[in-house]
Subunit: 362 residues, 4 copies
């Protein structure tokens, strides 16, 4: 029924991001969960926890399983996690023994999340770079144009358009550097078993962890991070800092586009149902909205760090409610920022040559 702006039949026209939505969507999530279960079964087989041939056959069956999502949904309501029903379905096709043995729900869901973050980070990285290139282009085109510097919303001294554009552009380098560091913090397998201590794996624990990690392209971990969520929350903070930077860009554009100020010209721009001639700087506003959205959501991710005992159902599922939305908002903000930067046909003081003047639209 699509109450979310990211999935809504028409609101998603503004807020939606099909690429990120595909990466976060249920099909891909299920693919990641099955990838974990198959890798797990194979790794346990290789470690001698059960017959390797049997493990390979089971892993193939897992990879080819057709999952009944209605049953999984029914399980969610009862179990609070999709995994017990998923495992039951997988056991029906792959045999009871070599499926999910010594693993726990959180191993599956969190490792699938790590795989999601890996793909999402690739996308964000590419988009930050594309935006940086687009802003560099703006600097090369309009960097020397004079512009009134404004502090505390008041005209101060003349600067250049480049001075202002750099406040949108330079933080992107920091964000890229930060993302690189964060990726190694979150692209890690989650393996702990029932209470997170890997005890059931015995001496084979390290072998299994390393093997699963290698197959999935994630880093191994010395201990399960079931109840240590600061890495995920830090990733969420990063997302909000990116949208914060873009929100500053959007806010500046909206202010520069005011009639009477006229320091920017945009191609395209939104119409009004009451005044068809009006050109609204819709993408600039959107960047502000998405920044304030993420600046709010980030709080929930920090609350979720208070994760009691070996697994907090309450704190963990708060992450599920919030993190995907933050990823969507960030991806969309990056594409909107790039579109906006490319729609800019002029930045700088309104020139006296009649091209634009502060009074033209009044």
């Amino acid at each position: 029924m699509d109450v979310s702006v990211f999935d809504h039949p028409w609101l998603a026209g503004l807020f939606g991001d099909p690429e990120m939505a595909t990466l976060l969507g249920p099909d891909q999530q299920m693919r990641h969960m099955l990838a974990f279960e198959a890798a797990w079964t194979r790794a346990c087989g290789r470690a001698g926890l059960f017959d390797e041939g049997e493990a390979e056959a089971a892993a193939l069956a897992i990879e080819n399983a057709r999952i009944d999502l209605t049953d999984i949904a029914a399980g969610m309501a009862q179990d609070g996690v999709p995994v017990p029903r998923l495992v039951r379905q997988l056991k029906a096709v792959a045999g009871p023994d070599p499926v999910h043995r010594h693993a726990t729900s959180q191993d599956v869901v969190d490792t699938a999340l790590a795989l999601t973050l890996k793909e999402a980070s690739d996308l964000l990285e590419a988009r930050i770079k594309a935006l940086a290139a687009s802003l560099d282009e703006l600097i090369s085109r309009f960097g020397d144009a004079p512009l009134m510097g404004r502090t505390r919303m008041q005209a101060a001294t003349m600067i250049t358009a480049g001075d202002r554009i750099k406040t949108w552009r330079l933080p992107l380098d920091d964000h890229l550097k930060r993302l690189t560091a964060l990726r190694s913090d979150v692209e890690r397998v989650q393996i702990g078993g029932a209470s997170g201590d890997r005890k059931a794996l015995g001496v084979q624990a390290d072998t299994v962890v390393v093997n699963v990690a290698q197959v999935l392209g994630l880093a191994p971990t010395a201990k399960a991070w079931h109840a240590m969520r600061h890495g995920i929350a830090d990733y969420a903070s990063f997302l909000s800092l990116v949208t914060g930077t873009l929100g500053k860009f959007g806010q500046d554009v909206v202010l520069m586009a005011q009639q009477g100020i006229d320091e920017i010209a945009l191609s395209g721009g939104g119409g009004s149902s009451a005044m068809p001639h009006k050109q609204n700087p819709v993408l600039g506003e959107l960047l502000v909205t998405l920044a304030r959205f993420n600046a709010t959501q980030v709080s929930a991710m920090h609350h979720a760090v208070i994760h009691e005992q070996e697994r907090s159902g309450a704190a963990w599922s708060l992450e599920w409610m919030v993190l995907p939305q933050m990823l969507m908002a960030t991806a969309r903000a990056l594409s909107a920022a790039r579109d906006l930067s490319q729609a800019i046909t002029w930045i700088g003081e309104p020139s006296a040559d009649g091209k634009t003047t502060r009074r033209d639209h009044r």
Copy 2:
């Protein structure tokens, strides 16, 4: 692609609420927007702004229009609102003149929101009452059972189960009373026209407003509330207070259900993929999660009150991102709380007769 827990193919099994989702869903939103446009056209006709017969014909055409949502979505991206494209489509079937004349996008979207809140409030009201009845039933069954009072998470003095249940039950009366008052604050037509001053309607403004309000079952307004959003934010605060109360209930249940405490017995309850015998108090946790979710979201709704000039695209669309989710979370929390209250088969000290003891599950 369903990244929201409320719409997700399996996560919605836990978080979803089909009834509220229907009320908030795009079909119903479109119905409300068309209802506004039809009522508007008729009211303008009746007020003599154009021919009444022509208005009636146009209104019928509006009510029966088949809307191309793909076009609306494309318009969102450009205009930041669905209305310019909607109006264009309606003019194609109902004639250009009697459609949306002197109205503005925000009139349509906000009045549709008022109609949504009216229906949503009916649902919430019914659910609060049902939950109250269910908790009253608990009090009548277990109210006299002795229970260890706990302050600062430490055993204090013996109270009764009824004493604790009342801390879940009594706030519901306040919430109901508050909802009644709030309804009259938000179930109001939004009518302002281009800059919110109704000037284009001339002396017919009051007639049109009263007529539209009456047809839609909303209250008339003396002035547009385009840029005065405290009523909507107060409604959101109400939603978060309700989930706060239910979060306290859930938190208490989860604490009482700990082995070693054993002050509550629940039928049903969630399974674990690693330990099939385990009974997790999933609904109790869910109530805590939804409460923390809403306690976070409410902040965004308060930021959105800072709504510049006659219409802030940025602040307004922040509401769209947040309010529907708060409604979903509240509706789901109420149904989960009722299910949880009905799953309670015992509250009170673990009895000495062997029924339950604090050590049984260890």
Copy 3:
């Protein structure tokens, strides 16, 4: 050491509010706590829980006790509440028996809070009314001046200055109405005893409650609200809605004061260390800051509704960290808004007669 902007030797020059600070300050808090303890002792005496003459003597001793705050501070660190040490000090001067018997820490601290909110609400009410009068005055002076209506930060259609001022003025009526309703929700005695059930008071419970309430000028309560915090959180929401309205006012002023827009003229205004001629609309910015501050803090108050069992030390003390600051921010915003409204010497389109033009300052 004054790290808070409200108490800081120079930051309080901007953020501080001496009147509200006095109402919230430790002297007044201690006065309220002692008033509760004295009223409690007298009420218990009157109810026959101990000798009435002895009670009166003890109450007088309580009222005249000199409290050693260093000892109270040491007790906070150990007990998490000031009351155990306070009671020990009072027993030393008023005799052990008739002091605090059957009461609990939360009774004292929360009733003192109710007394604080009563005084704070008087102040807020008076200030809202004063601001309303000041804005009415603006409407009467400049209400008919033409002003460009702006939607989505773009020039729309001409309105009047009065149209915009009303979006600052009208919500104040709603806030006043809301405050009146809220006062009866929070100006109530907190009486529960150890686990909040009043059991220790026996059949005298109602008598004691009514008597204490009457003496303190608060409403009696049927049950302790130790663990039902939605009333306090709703009051906090109200505070944030007020600052939200004022933040909209401030944001509008700041936008109107931009050179190139020049729709408002202000007397006074802030200087710059780099450009002494510059006039910064400091109070307008301050209103935005305080609104965003409260819109953030309100979230913590909603989290604090998730108050486990009979008393949550963790949730309760979160209120202490946040609510006083919200009261300070709201009081200061109201005084700043009034000062700002009185500093306005012109609102409306820059006139052609040379008084102001959009280009003057460039």
Copy 4:
């Protein structure tokens, strides 16, 4: 009048942190601002912007200036920043020419903040290490003790006390590593001049920047970060992640200390005014409170990244309201966590030898 829990005469007994308060307090802030002004004057002298001997004399006068704080406070109200009045006072003692020339208020206040963060980070670093050592000690004492693992608040499988303690201990290594990286992001001079472009410094800009940085022990910067606030917001996120980890520790302790669970024994602990025998785990609760406080505040710091144009008075002063409190909360949480860890006299299953049993306290 001390409405903040960090400065309050008795609440600071629990919430206060004298060491951090000294670092954040007005005396030290003023010292940092004067250090900037003196370094600035000397650097400009050395760069030949005015006579070097005159500069040295002026710098000495600045360092020895007695500042009238009442005047600064009055300036805050008018200017929104303390610097214009401070500069006026300095010019009175050091001569008008060589003081603050080509600098701006934000250069002074932000560089002073960088100096504060340098000292604060030293303190936090030392405390994180001390806490880590204390938790290592706990692991060495109780690491092998059996403990019931608990997932979703339900008994799961037996783990060891060490398994749980590690979820408190291991994140500290990540926090330390993060702090090291963050320090280089925030311990940087802020130098921009009026609109942040350093234009007034001409070709001497780099020389001045490097010189000021060197004297103050900060890093030089290629561009002013007046309007790029992601570094500061990221630092705030770090603070909240630290308190999140400690909140998890506190929450676990509080849950383990429940009678009926009895998995931890603490020396000391808080008393109750109603039940003097009761031992409340006050520090555990405090850690939860401080974590939720910071998880809320961090949102404001992210909103403040949306910093319009060359300087946003509104966004910048939101930082002043929030960041010092987050630093206080983090410092106090670290000291409380260490005290709590040292108060632990036992972790593990209640033993059967009569030392403690789950029923003892009932």
